[in-house]
């Protein structure tokens, strides 16, 4: 099978989605981020496990994705954004994140480990997504397109070589890790 055949074969993609999910859920659980007290500890700035997992994934993922892109093997899929969509939606999400104590991925993990509050949270997420779909036409007319961001990646917007930004972000992440270690967090 070629890469194109794998990508366009629906049944293969269903199996790959399931496998990717199993791996993702396994890693999130082992990383310790699918626990209410760990998430709240992060938001109260007393436990930095969530930031460590996320930034490690970004560091490794970023270098690999940009290398695969340079080799012509992958394309980027960045999302458009705006003040009305990204900032307001992000703040609503954050408020929910603190109340539930899980995000959509870790709520699914915690459900698998036997947390009924996470299962109720998953039902809430479905409900919230459904409410958004209902509101979408009105929101799209009024608020979602307010203050649209320039399209694309930060290096594209700045007009500089991607590897410069990759290197700077990598240095920033390693710096954050060192600072956390220095403060014993």
């Amino acid at each position: 099978m070629t890469l194109e055949q794998i990508r366009s074969n629906n049944r293969v993609q269903l199996a790959l989605g399931l496998l990717a999910g199993i791996a993702f859920g396994f890693l999130l659980q082992k990383g310790g981020v699918a626990a209410y007290n760990v998430v709240l500890g992060q938001l109260l700035l007393t436990d930095f496990t969530v930031v460590k997992v996320m930034l490690s994934a970004v560091l490794v993922g970023m270098i690999g994705i940009y290398a695969l892109k340079a080799a012509g093997l992958v394309r980027l899929h960045t999302k458009p954004g705006s003040l009305g969509a990204t900032v307001i939606g992000g703040l609503i999400f954050g408020a929910g994140f603190a109340l539930l104590g899980y995000c959509p991925g870790t709520a699914a993990v915690a459900t698998g480990t036997g947390a009924p509050d996470a299962l109720v949270g998953m039902a809430g997420i479905v409900l919230g997504a459904g409410i958004f779909a209902r509101l979408y036409p009105a929101l799209d007319r009024t608020i979602l397109n307010r203050g649209t961001f320039p399209e694309g990646t930060i290096p594209e917007i700045l007009g500089i070589r991607p590897w410069i930004v990759v290197a700077l972000v990598a240095i920033m992440i390693v710096g954050i890790f060192s600072a956390l270690a220095a403060y014993g967090l």
């Binding site: 794998i6 990508r7 989605g17 990717a20 993702f24 859920g25 890693l27 659980q29 007290n37 709240l40 109260l44 496990t49 460590k52 997992v53 996320m54 490690s56 993922g61 690999g64 994705i65 992958v74 980027l76 899929h77 999302k79 954004g81 969509a85 990204t86 939606g89 992000g90 703040l91 609503i92 999400f93 954050g94 408020a95 929910g96 994140f97 603190a98 109340l99 539930l100 995000c103 959509p104 699914a108 993990v109 698998g112 480990t113 036997g114 947390a115 509050d117 809430g124 997420i125 409900l127 919230g128 997504a129 459904g130 409410i131 958004f132 779909a133 979408y136 799209d140 990646t153 930060i154």
Partner: protein
């Protein structure tokens, strides 16, 4: 190997690096980012279409994100299984309705915890679709592509989260 699988937790750096490698394979084999909230949107759409198939299919949002059992939907099923497997192998499956930290601050009421969880879930589902992604789609997959929208989203997730967590538990650091 089996001792490693049976460990309760791994270093967060190792688990995170593993997620980074997983995302390489998703881009390579499936040609899209890894994000969880799309699967939840599909479930909402599929439930709506049980009641009114035609109306749901005509809704503009579900024309953009067509509800279906697809890669994104299977991902969420897989995440539940993966979480179960990891906890099972380390003997850390547990049935706890009210997390101890919540109980210590707000009491042991199951009804209160589930009401707060439901409210939080609704805000998460609403906010994730409003912002165009969640902690995985924007917070990891988007930021690692250096997408401007994803960095803004991730920062806003934490600003909103830090503010509300501080209101709930009292600001510990500031």
């Amino acid at each position: 190997m089996s001792a490693w699988l049976a460990m309760a937790t791994w270093s967060p750096y190792i688990a995170g690096a593993g997620i980074g490698v997983l995302i390489w394979t998703v881009f390579l084999l499936s040609d899209h980012p890894l994000g969880c909230s799309t699967g939840f949107s599909h479930t909402a759409g599929m439930i709506e279409s049980v009641f009114s198939k035609k109306k749901t299919a005509a809704m503009p949002y579900y024309r953009k994100f067509v509800p279906a059992v697809d890669w994104h939907w299977m991902l969420v099923i897989g995440v539940i299984i993966g979480g179960f497997l990891s906890a099972y192998l380390s003997g850390s499956l547990s049935f706890v309705v009210v997390p101890p930290m919540f109980a210590a601050a707000f009491g042991p009421s199951v009804a209160l915890r589930l009401a707060v969880a439901l409210t939080g879930g609704i805000l998460i589902g609403l906010g994730a679709r409003w912002a165009g992604g969640c902690t995985s789609g924007h917070g990891i997959s988007g930021t690692l592509q250096l997408a401007l929208s994803s960095w803004v989203a991730a920062i806003c997730f934490f600003i909103g989260g830090i503010l509300v967590a501080g209101l709930l538990y009292g600001f510990k650091v500031i």
